[in-house]
Subunit: 479 residues, 2 copies
Amino acid sequence: MMHHALSVRNPRTGECDYTIHPPSLSELYALCSQLRSGQKEWQKRGVEHRIDVLQRWKKSAQRYRSVLEEALITDTGRKWETLLEVDLLFARIDRWCELGKEFFDKQDTKPSHLPFIEIRQDVQPYPLVGVISPWNFPLLLSLIDAIPALVAGCAVLVKPSEITPRFIKPLMQSVFDVPELASVLAYIEGAGETGEAMIQCVDLVCFTGSVATGKRVYTAAAQNFIPVFLELGGKDAALVFEGANLDYASSAILWGATANAGQSCLSIERIYVQSSIYEDFVKRIVKKAEALSLCYPDIHHGHIGPIISERQVSIINDHLRDAIEQGAQVLTGSIQCEQHGGGMWCRPTVLTCVHHGMKVMTEETFGPILPIMPFNTEDEALTLANSTIFGLSGAVFASTVEEAYRIGQKMECGAISLNDAALTAIVHEGEKQSLKCSGIGGTRMGVGAMRRFVRQRAFLAKIHDVPSPWWYNSTVPSM
Amino acid sequence: MMHHALSVRNPRTGECDYTIHPPSLSELYALCSQLRSGQKEWQKRGVEHRIDVLQRWKKSAQRYRSVLEEALITDTGRKWETLLEVDLLFARIDRWCELGKEFFDKQDTKPSHLPFIEIRQDVQPYPLVGVISPWNFPLLLSLIDAIPALVAGCAVLVKPSEITPRFIKPLMQSVFDVPELASVLAYIEGAGETGEAMIQCVDLVCFTGSVATGKRVYTAAAQNFIPVFLELGGKDAALVFEGANLDYASSAILWGATANAGQSCLSIERIYVQSSIYEDFVKRIVKKAEALSLCYPDIHHGHIGPIISERQVSIINDHLRDAIEQGAQVLTGSIQCEQHGGGMWCRPTVLTCVHHGMKVMTEETFGPILPIMPFNTEDEALTLANSTIFGLSGAVFASTVEEAYRIGQKMECGAISLNDAALTAIVHEGEKQSLKCSGIGGTRMGVGAMRRFVRQRAFLAKIHDVPSPWWYNSTVPSM
């Protein structure tokens, strides 16, 4: 049934105005077999060739930029984050090419530390990598694993979220302009069923999305006996200590919590503020939050876009309802998501009187919600921040960067912004891995991004002038 | 039921003369919680301290060497491979300590390539690593992942095979002499059920063993949402080309196929010889094979030990029966495993007239069986060698090392011995990963061995004299 057409909702109008066509199983198999066959040449031509092709594709994609942006804006209902997403992608392409050179330069023959053995090394890419990507940054997150895999010499099949699929066509047009790339990179439309079928056809799978789906992907990958790389949810905490620059901290946290309407894995979703500065901080952030407006009715004005996924609206509403029922105070924002013009919207919402018995403090909300709790001591702050199943990222604001670093080292998460918030949204550098339920597998950042997509081989030879066979004679009685 | 005592068979006498006592679930939980609590200090004290402790333990283990060897010899029924195994382990301890220093030296703060961001990095060990290890090299394979994990800062819980558990007691005595190590390294006795329970209690699992069990371990790890590293079976091929030194090749292949009675994942299990030298090669290897004798009745004399596991005897017999029924010729060796003094034995067995419709050419045999097939061209040789679900290692013999290297690069496996066989049995250097069904996850060799056991963290800070907040102002309309 997986190749039945699916309707796609428009996040600004609420109407289904687009249709996707998942491949049939036989179409999927045929595509995988084409990609596998293209991969042989792709690997053989070497990394310099692959970088050259990717650079040509970058130029082609630049030509399609306006239609690509238009499709992405329709997919997500928001504008400025889309422009930022496209900018970030183009900057990353060059960086991945640089990292690819660095990675392959390191793979030269190196002498063994043993005097009697020479070891040569090479790397073998996994022939076909599958990528299952989410709806919150549909373009960037569909390519953040795909491009390093391509640089490493793999072919890549991408299945973006069925919620935001409109960008696929203009993107693939830019790919078709570069036939060498089209032979090793393809996108398919489809939902969970198509993703499941894809896992059975590839040699390695990368998934970005929720913990619940990530666990299913992991089990499916294990059953198909292929490696898996999971980049999952977060419940990032920001800690604000006495001595921090409260004007800067409140702006940065507000940005970190409300950019893309909070629909980002590394969104700030919990704020802990030292008691002595709590009132001051809350006052500042409420004032700044109130100055933000919805990008409605005019998409070109305002700050906060719609909630993209209808299912996410239910989760946000559930978290808000649960918190309010348990006594949370809404100092500003939406008591529930608001309907405007058919789309669903949530204002930057500051909550106080919250505690860890509320979903809004323990589950991923993925909305522009800022629950704030006071703390007295550093130990208390760290206990609260680390009391979570997630371990993606976090933020510490203190009197100096050194002080923030000292405290940040006690946070159980993969990336920590010092005197700043959500820096990994923009800075895709620094090898890091998620802790706890936020992920499985090697780093997506730095040279490690390539390492995930290859297996190393070792070629061993005895050096000639060594008595031979050296171990043979010493261990086996003579024959 | 898992804590009921289990009887252990002696591979030389066939008698059950030893009993193991798997922990109850509550004993297992208590042990894990002790190890987790010991790990905090272990991580905090740093790599220099950990190396110092491991070196002290090495001295302690040297004092227990003779009882340890005695237990291992009883476990496995063989002597010279045990002495080699213990030698290899002691040499590796020093090397892992060196690699540990190298690994942690690389983790220093490094400047980001971005002008406006400083990135610091550190690594966080997985608190508790579980190791499930096999019976063929019971000591070495129980520590080959455990020691790098300890160096990296993890606590480690090891469950060796229930078939060869006698070495655990003397080994743990040597560990108890070094209390700092005893707080982070423990062994438990038990079979599959205990292994399954262990996977539910640890943060990462390493498994060495069969493909079938490896798949089960992978699925269990996925369900418990922890990373997994699998080192599984092989069906290693040796290719012998015209121009190779046949005297050396036949000795090296015989050693690679019969050491430890073939009970090694990287044993040579398939031999392909170019037609022009086929007769000559077969004649030589048969003559050398006939010169080998069973280490029976005297364990101190002879070359070939018993088949350690009763289950393996059935598999070897099944492969031999299947091959002979299909027309294989037994030029020398055992038509079925032979019973001597209660133990089960298999002589070095050379088979010709074999083909890929026989189990002995496609499934892992794990016995001293040498099936030999002729080939005409290099392409044919590579097609035969690569026609397997396994991708562990291989060997190429040609006129020169360069020629062997050229051909070896077309072999689909992780480690290739050039003009030699099974070098990875002795040389644990050169990062490599298995291909196909022979494994999942990062390299066990080189610095990569440590990398498997840590997650990297990144700490990001803006550099002060940059207009601040730089991205904030440029992307968000002013608030």
